[in-house]
C-alpha cells in the first residue's frame, strides 16, 4: 500500500548518467580580474519577471556597484553597474537566448579605473532582523544563480511565510562540463558556509544541509572543513546522477520527501538555494556588495584553455572566449548553460548575464547530431523520466496539438531535464516538443487573461459613461432648479418692489397690500 519512502537515501527516480567531462576545468583555479572589454552590454532583464527600470541616461558617469536599473513589478530584480565608466546608450541588444531576439540593455564604456561607489560598512548581519536582511538581498539584486534566475529575496520572503524544516544548499552540479559550483566550493567554502547560515537565519530553518555529488571530492572536503568550524551545518554527499541538481530531485535525495504535483518545495517545508546564490547573499549581507559578476565555466572542445572565470555581467561572450585563449575552430554549437538543459546561443555577440553558469563551444563530435526516426514505443523515456511521467505520450499529443491530453500525461510537471531525449534510441527531440507545448499553453493562458482583463475594462468604461450621463442629467436638473429658484426670487422681488411703489403712491394704506385695499373697499 505504501510506496517505500526514500528517506534521505540519496536516491532519485529515473535519471541518466551522462559522461561528466568536468576534468578539463575542475582542477584549474577560477580566473579573476579579467581584462575589461571595450563595452559592457548590461541587460535590464537578467532575471525571471519584469524588466528593471533604467535609472541612468546616455552620457551619465557611473561607478562600480551603482544602481542603474531599479526592480519594478511584483517579480523583478535590481541591476548595478559592473564597473565604472560612461553610459553610451540604453538600447535593444541581442540576448543570450535561442530566439536571438533583442531586449533593452544599458551599454557602458568602461573607464578602466574600476572605481567603486562608496559602500558604508554594513552592521553585523547576524544582529539584524530577518526581514531587513531579505530587503538587503533584494537591494543587491541577487537572483537564483543555479539557472532559475528567480529573485532570491522573493524566495526568502516566501520561505518566511512557511515553516521550513530543511534548507538545502545545492552543490550537486549534475550538468556535464560545468564546474562553476565545484570551483566556488573549493575556493570560497567559508563564504558559502557563512551564506548558508545567513539564509538559514532569514528563513528560520531547523536544519541546513549542503548537498554535493560524490564526483567532487575536493569540494566536499573544503565545505566539510568550513562547516566543521561553525557547526550545525550538515554536509551530505549524494550520488552523481543526472538530474540531481534539479530542486525536486535533490529534495527527494536529501529528505526522502516528494514535492506533490503542482506544489512548491515550500509546501513540504523545504527551501533550496544554489551554492553560488549562498555566496552572493553572503557578499551582499557581510560586505554590502551588489551582484556584479559571476563565476562561469568556459569549456568545450573548441576552447583553447577551458577554465572557470569570474566575469562581469554584460561582458560579451566573445571577450570571454578570447580571455580563455580564443576558439580553436568553428564551434558546431554555442551553449549557455550545460549540454543537457543549456540554451543554444544565436551568436558570439551576446552578454554574460546573472544566470550564465557556463558558456560552451562544442565541436561537431561533442554535439552528436542525429536525424530522428519514428517512435518505437520502447518506453526507455518512461524509465528515464525523473518525474515519473510518460514522455512518449506527451510528445505524441504535443505533436498532434492535443495539449490537454499532453497535460494529462504530465506536461505540467515536466522539468525539461532532457533525460528522455538523452536515452531515446530514435533520437526524437522530445524536449523541443515539450518546450513547444508549454509555450503554446502559456500563449493561451495569456490571451485568456488578456480577454478577461479587456472585458473588465469594457465594463468599467460602460459604467463610467453611464455615471457621466447621470451626473450630466443631475447637473442639468440642478441648473434648471436653480434657474426656477432664481426666477421665483426675481418674481418675489418684483412683487415687493411693486408693493413698495404702491405704498408711496397711496400713503393712507400703511401696512396692507393693494389687494387688501380692494377687498376692504368692497366691504360695505
Amino acid at each position: 500500500m505504501f510506496a517505500p519512502r526514500l528517506f534521505g537515501s540519496g536516491k532519485i527516480r529515473g535519471g541518466v548518467h551522462p559522461d561528466g567531462r568536468k576534468d578539463a576545468t575542475s582542477d584549474r583555479p577560477i580566473l579573476t580580474n579579467l581584462p575589461l572589454p571595450s563595452r559592457l552590454y548590461v541587460p535590464l532583464n537578467q532575471h525571471s519577471g519584469d524588466d528593471a527600470l533604467p535609472l541612468v541616461r546616455p552620457g551619465d558617469r557611473v561607478l562600480k556597484g551603482q544602481l542603474i536599473g531599479k526592480a519594478s513589478g511584483r517579480v523583478s530584480a535590481s541591476i548595478h553597474a559592473p564597473t565604472s565608466g560612461t553610459v553610451l546608450a540604453i538600447e535593444a541588444v541581442t540576448m543570450p537566448h535561442p530566439s536571438g531576439l533583442p531586449a533593452m540593455a544599458v551599454i557602458i564604456e568602461p573607464d578602466g579605473d574600476d572605481r567603486w561607489i562608496e559602500i558604508p560598512t554594513p552592521p553585523d548581519p547576524f544582529s539584524l532582523d530577518p526581514d531587513v536582511l531579505a530587503s538587503k538581498v533584494e537591494e543587491a539584486g541577487v537572483v537564483g544563480m543555479g539557472g532559475a534566475i528567480f529573485p532570491a529575496a522573493i524566495k526568502l520572503r516566501q520561505g518566511r511565510r512557511f515553516e521550513i524544516q530543511t534548507l538545502i544548499i545545492n552543490g550537486s552540479e549534475c550538468e556535464p562540463f560545468l564546474t562553476t559550483d565545484d570551483r566556488l566550493m573549493q575556493e570560497r567554502a567559508d563564504e558559502i558556509v557563512e551564506g548558508t547560515r545567513l539564509i538559514r537565519k532569514i528563513i528560520e530553518a531547523y536544519r541546513a544541509v549542503i548537498a554535493i555529488e560524490d564526483n567532487k571530492p575536493a569540494a566536499i572536503a573544503a565545505i566539510q572543513a568550513a562547516a566543521n568550524k561553525v557547526g550545525a551545518i550538515e554536509v551530505m554527499v549524494v550520488p552523481a546522477h543526472y538530474p540531481m541538481g534539479s530542486a525536486k530531485q535533490l529534495i527527494q535525495a536529501v529528505t526522502g520527501l516528494e514535492v506533490p504535483a503542482g506544489k512548491r518545495s515550500n509546501d513540504i517545508g523545504v527551501l533550496v538555494h544554489n551554492v553560488a546564490t549562498a555566496w552572493a547573499i553572503q557578499q551582499a549581507l557581510v560586505y554590502g556588495k551588489p551582484l556584479l559578476s559571476r563565476v562561469t565555466t568556459v569549456a568545450g572542445a573548441c576552447v583553447a584553455q577551458p577554465q572557470n572565470v569570474e566575469v562581469l555581467f554584460g561582458t560579451p561572450i566573445e571577450h570571454v572566449f578570447k580571455v580563455c585563449g580564443g576558439l580553436t575552430g568553428v564551434p558546431a554549437r554555442l551553449l549557455m548553460g550545460g549540454p543537457m538543459m543549456g540554451q543554444i546561443l544565436p551568436s558570439l555577440d551576446v552578454p554574460i548575464i546573472k544566470g550564465s553558469s557556463g558558456v560552451l563551444a562544442l565541436s561537431k563530435a561533442e554535439v552528436n547530431a542525429h536525424t530522428s526516426s519514428p517512435c518505437i514505443r520502447c518506453a526507455r523515456c518512461v524509465d528515464a523520466c525523473p518525474m515519473g511521467l510518460v514522455p512518449l505520450e506527451m510528445a505524441r499529443n504535443s505533436r498532434a496539438d492535443k495539449l490537454d491530453a499532453a497535460q494529462e500525461f504530465g506536461l505540467r510537471d515536466c522539468i525539461l531535464c532532457g533525460s528522455c531525449a538523452y536515452v531515446c534510441p530514435s533520437h526524437i527531440p522530445l524536449v523541443q516538443y515539450f518546450e513547444y507545448a508549454k509555450g503554446e499553453l502559456a500563449d493561451r493562458r495569456s490571451s485568456q487573461q488578456k480577454q478577461e482583463y479587456t472585458k473588465g475594462l469594457i465594463d468599467a468604461r460602460k459604467e463610467r459613461l453611464e455615471q457621466e450621463r447621470l451626473a450630466k442629467e443631475a447637473a442639468k436638473a440642478a441648473k434648471e432648479a436653480a434657474k426656477a429658484a432664481k426666477d421665483a426670487a426675481r418674481a418675489a422681488a418684483k412683487a415687493e418692489k411693486e408693493a413698495a411703489q404702491a405704498k408711496t403712491q397711496h400713503p393712507e394704506s400703511t401696512t396692507t397690500s393693494p389687494a387688501d385695499n380692494c377687498v376692504r373697499e368692497e366691504q360695505p
Binding site: N45, H97, Y436, D443, S447, L457
Partner: protein, 175 residues
C-alpha cells in the same frame, strides 16, 4: 372634431393594451441559450473584426455555423479552442486562428485630437488634447475603432511583435 379625437385615442389605447397583453401571453422562448453562452465567451468589445456587426451577431453566426470558431482575432487560438470544445468541433480541423492585432499610433502624424481614445472601447489609448496619444498594448484588443475615428489616418493595426517572454520553440519537424 372632439368625437373623432376621443375615438381615435380610445382605439389606440385599447389596441395598444391588447398588443401589450398578447406579447406577454404569447411570448416565444425560442432564443437559443447557446448563443448567450457563446456571446459571454467572446471578448465583448463589439469590434467587428470578424466581419459581423458585434459580438452578439457573431455568437449567433458561430452557433449557426455560418462563421468559423476561429473568426475572432482578439480571442486568438485560446478562444477558438474553447469554442470548439463547447460546440463539439474537432480541434484538429480548426486550422490557423486569426492573429491578434494591436493598434499603433504614428507619432509623427498624431495631432492630439482625442478622437481615438474617445472611440476606444477598452480605454487602451491615453493622451490629452494636443498631446501625443499612445496605445497601452496590454489593453488593446485590435478592434480597429480608433483606426476609423482617426482623422489623420495615423493609426494602423500590426501583429504583436515577439519578445523574449512570448517567444517559444516551434514544433519540431515531424520524424
Amino acid at each position: 372634431m372632439l368625437t373623432a379625437t376621443l375615438v381615435l385615442t380610445l382605439m389606440g389605447l385599447i389596441l395598444g393594451g391588447l398588443l401589450g397583453l398578447a406579447s406577454r401571453a404569447f411570448a416565444s422562448n425560442d432564443d437559443n441559450p447557446l448563443v448567450k453562452e457563446v456571446e459571454s465567451m467572446l471578448p465583448g468589445s463589439q469590434c467587428g473584426q470578424c466581419g459581423l456587426p458585434g459580438c452578439g451577431p457573431a455568437a449567433e453566426a458561430i452557433v449557426n455555423g455560418t462563421a468559423a470558431v476561429t473568426c475572432c482575432p482578439p480571442g486568438g487560438r485560446a478562444l477558438a479552442e474553447s469554442l470548439a470544445k463547447k460546440l463539439d468541433i474537432d480541434i484538429s480541423t480548426l486550422g490557423a486562428a486569426a492573429v491578434p492585432q494591436l493598434a499603433v499610433i504614428n507619432a509623427e502624424q498624431c495631432t492630439g485630437c482625442t478622437r481615438c481614445y474617445k472611440a476606444c472601447p477598452t480605454d487602451a489609448i491615453v493622451g490629452a488634447s494636443k498631446q501625443l496619444h499612445s496605445v497601452i498594448s496590454a489593453a488593446c484588443t485590435g478592434c480597429s475603432q480608433c483606426v476609423a475615428a482617426c482623422p489623420e489616418d495615423c493609426i494602423s493595426l500590426q501583429a504583436e511583435t515577439l519578445s523574449l517572454t512570448t517567444w517559444h520553440w516551434h514544433k519540431p519537424e515531424a520524424a
